[in-house]
Amino acid sequence: MANTTEGMTASSEIFESPFKIKVKLMWRAFKENWRIFSESKIGMLGLWIVIIFAVAGFVVYPILASTIWKSTSLNAMVSYNPVTGYDFTIANNPAPPSLAHLLGTDPLGRDILAQLLYSTPREFALGIIAALITVFLGTLIGTVSAFYGGVVDTFFMRLADLVLLFPFIPFLIVISGMMQVNLLTLALIIGLLSGFGGITIILRSQAMIVKVKPFIESAKVSGASDPYIIVNHIIPNIMPLSFLYMMFNVTGAIFSEAVLSFFGLLNIRMSWGLMIYTADTAGYIVGTNIGTYWWLWLPPGMAITLICGAFYFIGRGLDEVVNPRLRRR
């Protein structure tokens, strides 16, 4: 790794700069892996769902918010604001889908579609930040405990057992009572908790397999230090698996957020879980109301299911890239 940075300055006539070559190699590896991934139907389905949501949340919503949904002097109100909006032209809220509000309005008179789109980037951020923290911690701890073994290993593995047995939701209920949990704090808590938990055990066992390979001994014979071996040999070999588990963790984080919001435990302005919570607390997800006021719970419910499913599907597709045994010849 060290030579890539030096490579920028020192290059002879025979060589291209190693840095450029590395980029080319990475591109080639990416193309090859993409070819395998693209053959997995389930993975592609997941990817498409994620892309559609991403476009809706990151592109369509800002455009809509700054054009059609913008408060003008004509309507003189913020009828499409996902948090504070209210459409005075509608007599009864929640109102069923109409041309003005494609997915209807919620009990407080806010536009459902606007809420849905507004939440999308936040859900992404939550899922990905939590997953990144999880994977970073899991990879580091898993590798270190596998490599050093002994007391370090025992400590982290018992800690992982503890975290796995930990009542997650009650813990968050307590935390949310003690402090204001916003989206970022939630991502941090989920990331930390799952980073010390299950993923560590999986990545540790993978690191154990890599640890005994002759190429590790080969590096030791050349005098490599322990951190050098961990960073240069073990981590690159478990990275694909980490990346795979990251996809599953995104699903987990988004799902946890939905559950907590549904219980009204989070201090966030708007999310899919919160949309269902609003409908529920106002008494619209009870008895026959469920069928009548379907637009209150179906869109956020679908969105949660689809995005969680999509990241899981991507994970399944990546599984074929990471585990050559799953590939069809």
Partner: protein, 332 residues
Amino acid sequence: MVDATDVVLKVENLKKFFPVRKGVFSRVRSFLHAVDDVSFEIKRGEVLALVGESGCGKTTTGKTLVRLHSPTDGKITFLNRDVTHLRSAVDRKWFHGKSQMIFQDPFESLNPRKTIFDIVSEPMNIQSEGSLKYREEKTMEILKRVGISPPNAFLWRYPHELSGGQRQRVAIARALVMNPEFVVADEPTSMLDVSIRTQVMKLMMNLISDMHMSFLYITHDLAVARYMSDYISVMYLGKMVEYGETEEVIQNPLHPYTKALISAVPVPDPEFKRKSIQIKGGIGKAIDPLPRCRFYDRCPFAMDVCAKEEPSLVDVDDGHKVACFLYDKKEE
């Protein structure tokens, strides 16, 4: 330039024991005597073959010498410096810069996520030797020498894009890139196909004589050892049972185990009828061995004395050493 008959590596009474637990709740500590009281020396440009069956301690000896294991007891002297313990970082750097190892499996000894350049230049990288340009030139040079040509066509490939023979050449290049004084090769050709094996053997022979290295060649194949080495040392259950010049040991084996081993090697000649020496049973494990000859149970010539004492390695004929009471003149 140092004298050609300079002793590079001297091993005295090397021991490596591994603790084994007898049962889950057992408090009694037992030890597997993987290497037990082994002494030898290797001179510059000399190849010593360590021969024996699996589990005889030959690989453990090799790994202990390059410090993948730390010795339980004994003394290792490398270029007149005591390297038994390597306590200081300076000593370690010095030693690891001058000793290397080639592994058996060319598919497992190269990191699948590194390019050939990364793999071959890694020893220089670890030892932070030279500039990047220097490392590139050295890598190209050594790849050319091990017969990977043209080197720049292979520099940025990954191990899985190479054939078994090419991989083992790359592994050799990696081991030799820093001009080591001492190299341990652990069955480097046993995973290769016949026609490739001969190529790699010849390559190593040429490199050893060109680069004046001291080589410890670990193999189970006496026929390969015959071609590769100047001296042969036969190991049995952690003990060195015979040592001598290669042709001398092959043509005139003394220890009953060596005789059995040589007689069991198949000969590529259908008209040749071997007389094989039958030995009983199979190889065991040297867990807390009794103080007697370890070959006692299987030896067709076992005597009473063999059950009472351990034979020591004695010189019987001009450097041909054997650890067997059959050749112990005092006993006559």
